[in-house]
Symmetry: C2
Subunit: 262 residues, 2 copies
Amino acid sequence: MGNDLESLAEFARELAFAARRETLSDCWGSVAVENKLASGFDPVTVCDRRAEQAIRRLIEERFPDHGIKGEEFGDRPARGPLSWSLDPIDGTRAYICGLPTWSTLIALLDEDEPVLGIIDIPRLDELHLGFDGQATRWMAGRPRPIRTSGCTTLAKARLSTTDPDLFSAGEAKTFDRLRRNVRVTRYGLDGYGYAAVAAGGIDIVAESGLKPHDYQAIVPVVRAAGGAVANWSGGSDLSSGRIVAAASEALLEAACRLLGEA
Amino acid sequence: MGNDLESLAEFARELAFAARRETLSDCWGSVAVENKLASGFDPVTVCDRRAEQAIRRLIEERFPDHGIKGEEFGDRPARGPLSWSLDPIDGTRAYICGLPTWSTLIALLDEDEPVLGIIDIPRLDELHLGFDGQATRWMAGRPRPIRTSGCTTLAKARLSTTDPDLFSAGEAKTFDRLRRNVRVTRYGLDGYGYAAVAAGGIDIVAESGLKPHDYQAIVPVVRAAGGAVANWSGGSDLSSGRIVAAASEALLEAACRLLGEA
């Protein structure tokens, strides 16, 4: 898929920019949200839906054979190996609070394997793209190759997770063991945390409860930047939704040694 | 101090821009930090110090009678009623992780009472200024008046605190009681959380362990935007460092009813 993947990467950036036109609008910071759950709180805004529709429209026009799996609408089956996994607004809670670190996640899947990912942070004008060993961050439109920090030692690592309250009691205890072994811990980043691993600012992200549209885009970005992604036991099957991303294989192993003991 | 305060506000913005020249540099996202503590981790970068020096230099040149209380250097006594309280980088942990939500906090004190505050977010190009019932946010250089959301109900409130691990066991229990009564909770914002209250995105911030240079700048910003600031018992003495800021007096009272029961 060599050259093909280059042009699909260009197309994926177009998808992200189409989503920006919807997400960087009046919705941002608005409390006019719907709750998707009968009990609990799972917010969605009209801008989530508009952004996903804008992306779907472009895919349907250009690649009618590609499948689409979006967070907000039903699956569109593929006629061939390729499909797209979409999360128009990852971090809707940050979004409805007018905060900057929500993102648009776009993955290209080849037979369900993510081969290209975008983590776009519209409010920061930071777009992260990874495929095939190449990871790039566009800041204010200017591309620069990115690499993880390469950190290999827990004692020096900068750890992040979005929200400690999302952990089960067992997960919270396990995460806390990891937290007490690292240098510093930051919260509240959603998909941006993985982009920060790829760009070298954060060294480990550990989260649970992630859905495929939450993690499929981040895998190619982190790996192409030299990082590693696995489940909390260190395995490659991410379907449990317990994800750890790290700046190096050695750091991933060290983290999983603590996380996997749950 | 009417007109005087207008021109001091203009000067305070100059101070923030002088600090930006130092903070938006190579330090940001660098792990080349010093630890101020023998045990624990209290990071400071060379850019903290350079930014504070840049601000102090401008104050000493223009207002040699004004006092200066900075986070990184010693106090400069005032010859008169006015002095400045400075935190060149609030959120150094975010800063060393290359994250966007660190801030520069600048307060003007009249006989130790903060009468003007700036919360500047250099990476977002968002400067928040509050004094004398006027609150303004400059985004990308364009000023707009800001107001809190006016939210009065815990059940609808968006709550934030920087880091739940910074609470004592008793404080954590108390905060958790508040958290379970609000709509959504976000972490990781440092001084930006208070700016978000003033701008209407967040409705409550509750934190502990704050030093005067952490809270003096935020008081005039939040109050000028229509919000309220108090200690966790609802009192006006903030020296305990247990601070709550809210979008309205009614919301502050509702929050303190839970927080004050510690």
